[in-house]
Symmetry: C2
Subunit: 198 residues, 2 copies
DNA sequence: GTACAATCGGAGTTTCCGCTCCGCATCCGA
DNA sequence: TCGGATGCGGAGCGGAAACTCCGATTGTAC
């Protein structure tokens, strides 16, 4: 991450500017949505527009870089929790934390959706990372009996994106989260069986 | 809905064109997302751009009209199911139907989100309609013991929006739907749940 | 049938935004 | 310290999309 795509080492100031731009982009996109203008990012970063476009030749590539950074941070958080004492608590805690973040930062939701569908270039590389990290978190929780056994990382990621979306819009995210958690726990039987039993 | 905002009766052709524009807008926004151009809508409707802007002075107002139409249709569907034989089936069937629609029509998701937050002018009038219709559906299902008793229409609407969003992006919508349904059912109260709730 | 008003159509205007270009500033190796 | 290479800044280009305006057209009352 310290070189350009052509392999040349970057000058010190260029490296600094690249970081400034990335941080500013993250702020701006989080606050105003992904349709915020590149000029706004440049202003926030305290650099010229030309600088932004030199480091990220396309607005799409800038967005992608921001999303990748978000996803990497998510993956790191998930990995940190992989060795927690209580697997169930680790899994649900991670879930809740992501949703809480998404409530204010719309970009997180987009990032999660992106990770689910990928099709993008760079996210196609970190997307699986997130899914893998969530996967181990999920597996441990399942082995501990805290989470139902009949779902995989894809379903969790999709649900995460959906609940995050809901939390970002509506106010009462706690209740929705509770419903999702209950749905994720081991069920007393299949849907039909449960219905027949009552 | 047959007069302009100034109260004058509309000419017959104007009325026809207005309907054509609305239908075309619904199609276009469903297919290409809400960022589709007004010109595209006009082309699809077979009218000039000027006509579109006369009936809907702003793109936002056009979008709003489309969303209101969607919400009204949703509310009508919900009301029709309010007298179904099996309240649980009615509730979950409605839920599944909405999600299935959202998988292809992104606009539905936006409409639901809009209904949850409103803040808009016209949706502020039909949003409550949807919520009320869902409310009766929910209440009957709750009284029949098919849905947990500790949630209200707001939570259902939010969850509906979130799951619809997830279904529209990721592929495996069935599994996510299953998780949501299980979360919506009355909870038997596993040891963990009982411990967590108290 | 006629006249008038309402409506239509679409070229043109305005605004906004992604992106380029190139003279100037800054860095860094010798 | 000095010179070449690298990076910076921001005016400006190109195009897309929302919205306006007015002559042509069409519906409707009499």
């Amino acid at each position: 991450m310290t070189t350009t795509s052509s392999g040349k080492p970057l000058r010190a100031d260029a490296l600094r500017n690249r970081a400034k731009v990335l941080a500013a982009a993250e702020d701006v996109f989080a606050a105003q949505g992904t349709s915020a203008s590149t000029e706004e990012v440049a202003r926030r970063a305290g650099v010229g527009i030309g600088t932004v476009f030199r480091h990220f030749p396309t607005k799409e590539s800038l967005l992608e870089a921001v999303l990748v950074a978000l996803l990497e941070r998510l993956a790191a958080q998930a990995r940190d929790l992989a060795s927690a004492a209580d697997p169930g608590e680790a899994f649900f805690g991670f879930f809740a934390r992501v949703v809480a973040q998404a409530a204010t930062k719309q970009a997180v939701t987009d990032a999660l959706a992106e990770a689910g569908v990928d099709a993008r270039e760079a996210t196609g590389r970190t997307g699986p990372d997130v899914k893998a990290a969530i996967g181990t978190l999920l597996e441990r929780a399942q082995r501990a009996g805290a989470v139902r056994a009949d779902i995989g990382p894809s379903e969790v990621t999709a649900l995460l994106a959906g609940i995050s979306y809901a939390a970002g819009r509506a106010g009462g995210s706690d209740d929705v989260l509770r419903i999702a958690f209950d749905g994720l726990r081991p069920q007393g039987g299949t849907a039909d069986q449960a219905a027949a039993r009552r």
